[in-house]
Every structure is written in structure tokens, then in C-alpha cells.
């Protein structure tokens, strides 16, 4: 192989690899682009049961219920327009409290209940999950005031 040809081959390989990466990313993102949902999003267009999604919103005041087994909690995540019932089996994060923002990884079951596998609550008083910034959580209230203590 001549020097010039070899250089060209390598450049072509690199281009093919990177274009391939772009296509692969586009393909994988297609599935995952709707990964983040608010309760309104779920109300508008319900994702398929069993698909991994991330739900974000505000824990409705008075909605946290502990089950008899001591390790399962049920609560309602809401935004300005809709509500979503969530169940979580596990140790809730330290700052998981009613009226505060929460992001949950999990999936909807056949009955439309969101089964959370991980809960991300605020980690310290400054932390807001990025997806929740600027989302109107509770109608009528100043959203920054309710989100940032």
C-alpha cells in the first residue's frame, strides 16, 4: 500500500467509525429520548408498561404511606396538571420528604402504577434534580420558593 493510500484508508476508517458512532447513538437515543417524564407527560402519552423511564415531580403533601411490611412506601408525584401514583420498596433517601422534589427511576406496571427502583431526592439543601428546574410543581405557589429552601 502506498503511503498516501494508507493515510486515506486510516482517515476513511476514522470517518466511518465516527459516523457509525453517531448512527448508533441516534438509534439508542431514539429509544431513550423520552426517558424523562413528568406526571403530565405520562397523562398525555402513557409510556409502555415495562419500559425504563425516569419520573420527576413533587411529592404531594400527605401522600406518603408506609406499608405494613415497613419497607415499602406509596406516594403521589405531582406537577401542576397531573398526578402519578408511585410505589417504592427500599430505604428512602435522607431528604425524601413531602412537598419536595423527587426523581425516580423505574417503570410503569400493567395497572399504571409507577414502580420505582431508585429514588433521587435532594442531596443537600442546594440540590435540585436538573430535570425539575423551572417545572411548575404546584399551582399557585412560587416554584423557586418551594424547590430551594
Amino acid at each position: 500500500m502506498k503511503a498516501k493510500h494508507q493515510r486515506l484508508t486510516l482517515v476513511l476508517l476514522a470517518v466511518v467509525a465516527l459516523v457509525g458512532a453517531g448512527l448508533l447513538a441516534a438509534y439508542a437515543l431514539q429509544d431513550q429520548a423520552s426517558y424523562f417524564y413528568t406526571p403530565s407527560d405520562i397523562a398525555d402519552k402513557k409510556p409502555q408498561a415495562g419500559t425504563a423511564i425516569r419520573l420527576g415531580g413533587m411529592v404531594e403533601k400527605g401522600s406518603i404511606q408506609r406499608s405494613a411490611d415497613g419497607v415499602t412506601v406509596q406516594f403521589i408525584v405531582q406537577d401542576a396538571k397531573a398526578q402519578q401514583k408511585v410505589t417504592y420498596t427500599g430505604i428512602t433517601p435522607d431528604l425524601f420528604v413531602e412537598g419536595s422534589g423527587v426523581v425516580a427511576d423505574g417503570r410503569l406496571d400493567a395497572n399504571g402504577l409507577f414502580v420505582a427502583e431508585t429514588l433521587l431526592a435532594k442531596h443537600d439543601e442546594n440540590y435540585i434534580p436538573r430535570e425539575l428546574e423551572g417545572i411548575d410543581m404546584t399551582s399557585g405557589k412560587n416554584k423557586t420558593e418551594t424547590l430551594v429552601q
Partner: protein, 645 residues
């Protein structure tokens, strides 16, 4: 006066950096030697002054000087001494000062000890280094002065984020910063070489220790960060594909590619333009990482400094440095001479494959990390890209990469015979097949990815030692051992990852003191709950004992900590490490019936993930010592030969 002295030292260091840049730029243009001889002492002085400034900041933190705003915001007088010390860089201003200090010291080190580069390239490198530092000096002095005073002086400070109050995390940021800064030096070398058109083996040999050093620190930093997240967050996971984790992974991927291509350039004088490109990309990635973490453009469980205005400043620096370097690259790449040629089936060929795969993985992580930001900027929609994307996109490629890694070291430079290669690699392939067969036969419910991962790990573990086969072990160079150990470390880490994801057993119960919990062969007895007090926290501690089968009884004490200053709770998981895995216990909330939530994981072989990471770094370290020693010997021999003439 200490704060003012620190600020003056910082201004002086900035002025010296400006002088250093000017001397280099004018000297290169005018071709005047007197400028060249002046640049070394200036670089050393800059390093000294910026170090002085940083030491004074540490001093302010150690004596809890509450008239300094930064100390007030990030420290408290009752804090343990270690965290006062580490608190210096556990914040935005301090970490930026640490960054520029390490850069200044690196410049001083190059000025003092670099002997193998052409003078002109060295001068251009030091000028480029000073130019990068200038941006950071401007950033510190204009928008984030670490020495700012505060009036009136408050009685006490606000403390450090409790999540940062951990010995592992105290030294984690500097480790990553050493890595980032090492890449900035590699970048400066590349810019220097592009300016003087001196791209060749000697340039690669000068650049290699810096790439290697940066890569070792990044490897250690990522390993430590992953372990920190694993035990501190209490979720039992070791990698979350969090944007902040990705911000450190991306430079590592680029540095890994660069490390391999710079070796090709140093050994075989091939891949010249590609190596330059990678040096630019690697530094860009460390800047983008800093930008992502420090700008407040995203919040994540790890992101601590949030400030959009500073984000714009870093973005501007990013645009200048990367844009400038890309432009220089575009202008000069045509004049970079062709390197030596090689056949596709050769060591070089395998390393090109390694580089392409790493680049593709890097591109996929990059797209996944920045896509949500892009979508939000364009359409205003919020979305997040999560583990399902990253695992799907990068997992298979990572496994292909690992197979290339097994075969690469067995190939000869320049050209090789495919049949002979197949012969050499037949044992690892057979072993992989056997492992896959055994796993498929005896285990159930393993995911395809984990199955392939474990099978490949077995093959790679053997293949990584193949370069030592039939060699005189005492005369084998140290850097070959380094490669063997680093590659073996990857196999070890891969084993840990596959075992963790496939064989973890967990139990979650509400238990009362007196209850027993069984997981795998473990019996956990919950004895009592007791209150505890630490230096600046109080806690509830679960007293438990754990027993494996009929074996010895171990104490295990998970805690729930309350930090009064920050009004934050953290749960401290308790870990019991055995040779075959780790028992991981988390204590949750109590309820009105006197029950406590207890989560227990038995994670077989999970420590191998981090042990593998340490082996990888150790391999890098051995390679570094080996290379430096060889370079030193060769220089001595040359000097001796010249003296004899």
C-alpha cells in the same frame, strides 16, 4: 495580612505567566536566543509564586480565618483538621487555584528538567502552557477571588458539604486535577510541536511521561470516585452514568487512546497527525469536564459548585483554547510529515483499532452526556439520557475493545502474519470459549453482556501475560511488565463488574433489635440501636453481627448521621470485605413500631472492580518508571560518548 499576601502572590504569578508567554511568542518570532534563556527561570518563578498563593490559602483554612469569605462559606472551626485542609479545594475558587497551581508547578518542572526536546519546541510549549494558565488566572482574579474578605466577620463558618466529609473524597478532586493538568501539558507539547513543526519520535518521547502521568491520576481518580459513590450514597451501585462521572470518564478515554498512539509515535514514528489530534481532544475533554461540573449547567448527585456566570467564563476559555488549537491543527496538519508505514495486521494496526474504538466510545458518551443540554437549548424540553442508553451504546464496543486489547500485544510491529497471530492467541480464545461454556452450563439468569464479560475476562487474563511467554524475565523491560499488569487489571475489573451485576443477592426488611436476617450464606443479627456523637455530627448506629456459615463473627455497624451545621443527613453504609466478596449493610428509618429498615447486599467479588482499577494505575506507574529510567540511562550514555569525543 495572609489573605492579602496570597492575593499579591497570585497577581505576581499571573504577571509572570504573561511575561512567560510574551518571551516565548516574541522569542520564536524574532529567533533570539536571549529570550529563550530567560523563559526557563520565569516559568520556575511563576510556579513558585502560584504555589505560595495556594499554600497561604491552605493556611487560612487550617487556622479557620473567618474574615475570608471562602473559609466562611466552606469551613467551620469545629471541623476535623483533615477536612479543613481538604476543604481548601472542596469548593470552586480553591479548586481553580489548585488547578492553576498544578499547572504552574508542571511548567516549572518542564523548565527545570526537560532536556530531550529541541529548544524551540520547549519554548513554544512553555509559552502555550503560560497562555492556558493566563485564562485561569484571569478567571480567579476577575470573577472568583479566593482571598476575598468578608465584613462583618461572622462568628463561625457554614461547614463543608457533609457528603464531602470523607477521607476518600478529600483527596479525590486533586487526583483528578493532576490528571486534567497532565493533559494540559500534553496539549501544550502538541501546540509547541505544531508551531515549530517538530513532530516526531523525540517529541513523543518527551510528551509520553506527561500523558502517562495524567492517565495514572485519572485512572486512580475514577476508581476512587466510583468507590466513594458506592459506599457513600448507600445505593450499592458503582457506576451511575451520571454526567459528572462522565465528565471524568471522557478525558480518561481520550487519554487512554492518546497513551497508545503516543507510544506508536515514540516507538515507530507513525500516527503523527492522529496523535496531535488526540492531544487536542484529550485536553478539550478535561476542559469540557471542568465546564460541566463547575458551570452549574447541570446538577447531578456529584455536582457541587453551581454558578452559570462562571460557566460562561469557562465556556469562553474553552472556545479560545480548543478553537485555537483546532485552527492551528487545521493549518499545520498538512505540513506534518508522513510517519513510517505499517500493514493492517500489525501492532500498529491493533493500536489504530484500539484508538478508533476508544474514540467511538468517547463520542457515544459525549453525545449521551450533552444531548439533553442541546435539546433543552434548542427546544426547551427537559429530558435525561440514562443508563439504558449508555449500557446499550457502549457495552458491546467495550467488549470488542477488550478483545483487541488481548490480541494487540501479541502482534509484531510493522507487519505480522495472521496465521501466526491465530496460533499465538489460540490458548486465550480456547479459554474464553471454555469459560463461556461452563458459565452457560452452570449459572442461570446471567445477562448476555455479563456472560461475555466474564468469558472474555478469563481469556484476557491469560492473554495479558502472553507477552512474557518465553522471555528472559529478568531482562524484560519494566514498561512491558507495566503493560502486562495494566491489561491484567482490566481483566480483573471486568470480572468484578460481571460478578456484581449477575450474582448480587439482596434483602430488604424492617427489623427489630433481636431479629436475624439471612442473605446467601450470611446470617446478620441485629443487636441494638445506639446514639453516637462525632466531631460535628450525631448519629444513630445499628449494632449488628454477621456470620458466614459457621465462621467467625464480625461486628458491623451502619449509621445514620445528622450534620447540624448543614442540616443534612447521610447514611453511612457498613462494609465487610471478605476474599470472595463484600457484605454491604445500610440502616434506614425507624417506624412507630420500633422496626428499622435494613438493607443487606451480598456482592460476590465486587472489590475486584476497584482492585482492577488500582492494578491498571500500578501498571501505568511501572511503565512510567521504566521509561524514565531508560531515558535517563540513554541520556547519560550519550553524554558520556560526547565527552569522550
Amino acid at each position: 495580612m495572609i489573605a492579602e499576601t496570597g492575593l499579591i502572590a497570585l497577581w505576581l504569578a499571573a504577571a509572570l505567566a504573561l511575561l512567560q508567554f510574551a518571551l516565548g511568542a516574541i522569542g520564536l518570532r524574532a529567533q533570539r536566543d536571549e529570550y529563550f534563556s530567560a523563559i526557563r527561570p520565569v516559568a520556575v518563578a511563576q510556579g513558585l509564586f502560584v504555589s505560595l498563593s495556594f499554600l497561604l490559602l491552605i493556611w487560612l483554612f487550617l487556622r479557620s480565618d473567618m474574615s475570608v469569605r471562602l473559609v466562611v462559606m466552606n469551613s467551620a472551626s469545629v471541623k476535623p483538621l483533615l477536612y479543613k485542609f481538604a476543604g481548601t479545594w472542596g469548593n470552586h475558587e480553591g479548586s481553580m487555584l489548585l488547578w492553576v497551581t498544578v499547572m504552574g508547578l508542571a511548567g516549572a518542572f518542564i523548565a527545570l528538567f526537560e532536556r530531550s526536546l529541541q529548544t524551540r519546541t520547549l519554548v513554544a510549549t512553555l509559552a502555550a502552557q503560560a497562555f492556558i494558565s493566563l485564562g485561569f488566572y484571569a478567571f480567579l482574579l476577575v470573577s472568583s477571588n479566593p482571598f476575598e474578605r468578608m465584613f462583618p466577620v461572622p462568628a463561625d463558618g457554614q461547614g463543608l458539604n457533609p457528603l464531602l466529609q470523607d477521607p476518600g473524597l478529600a483527596f479525590h478532586p486533586p487526583t483528578l486535577y493532576f490528571g486534567y493538568v497532565g493533559l494540559s501539558v500534553a496539549f501544550s507539547f502538541a501546540v509547541g510541536a505544531m508551531i515549530t513543526r517538530d513532530v516526531g519520535a523525540s517529541f513523543a518521547k518527551a510528551m509520553r511521561p506527561w500523558v502517562l502521568g495524567a492517565w495514572i491520576f485519572l485512572t486512580l481518580g475514577i476508581t476512587a470516585g466510583s468507590y466513594w459513590a458506592y459506599y457513600e450514597l448507600g445505593w450499592g451501585g458503582w457506576w451511575f452514568w451520571d454526567p459528572v462521572e462522565n465528565a471524568s470518564l471522557m478525558p480518561w478515554l481520550a487519554a487512554t487512546a492518546l497513551l497508545h498512539s503516543v507510544t506508536v509515535l515514540a516507538t515507530r514514528d507513525s500516527l503523527r497527525a492522529w496523535t496531535l489530534m488526540l492531544a487536542v481532544v484529550a485536553f478539550s475533554m478535561s476542559m469540557i469536564g471542568t465546564f460541566l461540573v463547575r458551570s452549574g449547567i447541570l446538577t447531578s448527585v456529584h455536582a457541587f459548585a453551581v454558578d452559570p456566570e462562571r460557566g460562561s467564563f469557562i465556556l469562553a476559555l474553552l472556545a479560545i483554547y480548543i478553537g485555537g488549537a483546532m485552527a492551528l491543527f487545521a493549518l499545520r496538519v498538512g505540513t506534518v510529515k508522513e510517519g513510517k508505514r505499517f500493514e493492517l495486521v500489525s501492532r500498529e494496526g491493533a493500536l489504530v483499532a484500539n484508538n478508533l474504538l476508544l474514540s467511538v466510545i468517547l463520542a457515544l458518551v459525549f453525545i449521551g452526556t450533552l444531548y439533553p443540554l442541546l435539546v433543552e437549548a434548542v427546544t426547551g424540553d427537559k429530558l435525561s439520557v440514562g443508563p439504558p442508553y449508555f449500557n446499550l451504546a457502549t457495552g458491546p464496543l467495550a467488549l470488542i475493545l477488550v478483545s483487541v486489547m488481548a490480541a494487540g500485544p501479541l502482534l509484531r510491529w510493522r507487519r505480522d502474519n495472521p496465521k501466526a497471530l491465530l496460533n499465538r492467541i489460540s490458548i486465550p480464545i480456547l479459554l474464553t470459549a471454555a469459560a463461556l461454556f461452563a458459565l452457560a452450563l452452570f449459572t442461570t439468569g446471567m445477562s448476555i453482556l455479563s456472560l461475555l464479560g466474564l468469558g472474555l475476562a478469563a481469556g484476557v487474563a491469560v492473554a495479558s501475560f502472553a507477552p512474557l511467554w518465553k522471555r528472559n524475565l529478568r531482562r524484560t523491560p519494566l514498561h512491558t511488565y507495566g503493560m502486562v499488569i495494566a491489561h491484567f487489571g482490566i481483566a480483573v475489573a471486568l470480572t468484578g463488574m460481571a460478578c456484581e451485576s449477575s450474582f448480587t443477592e439482596e434483602k430488604l426488611v424492617a427489623a427489630m433489635p433481636g431479629d436475624e436476617i439471612a442473605v446467601n450464606q450470611w446470617k446478620l443479627k441485629f443487636e441494638a440501636i445506639e446514639p453516637m456523637a462525632g466531631p460535628n455530627w450525631t448519629a444513630l448506629e445499628g449494632r449488628m453481627t454477621a456470620q458466614y456459615g459457621d465462621g467467625a463473627i464480625h461486628e458491623i455497624t451502619p449509621q445514620n448521621r445528622m450534620f447540624a451545621a448543614a442540616q443534612t443527613q447521610t447514611s453511612e453504609a457498613a462494609l465487610l470485605t471478605r476474599w470472595n466478596g463484600q457484605l454491604y449493610v445500610v440502616l434506614g428509618d425507624g417506624d412507630s413500631e420500633g422496626r428499622w429498615q435494613v438493607r443487606v447486599w451480598w456482592k460476590p467479588f465486587v472489590p475486584l472492580i476497584w482492585f482492577g482499577g488500582i492494578l491498571v494505575a500500578l501498571g501505568g506507574f511501572l511503565a512510567m518508571i521504566g521509561r524514565l529510567r531508560r531515558g535517563y540511562k540513554q541520556r547519560k550514555q550519550r553524554e558520556y560518548a560526547e565527552a569522550m569525543l
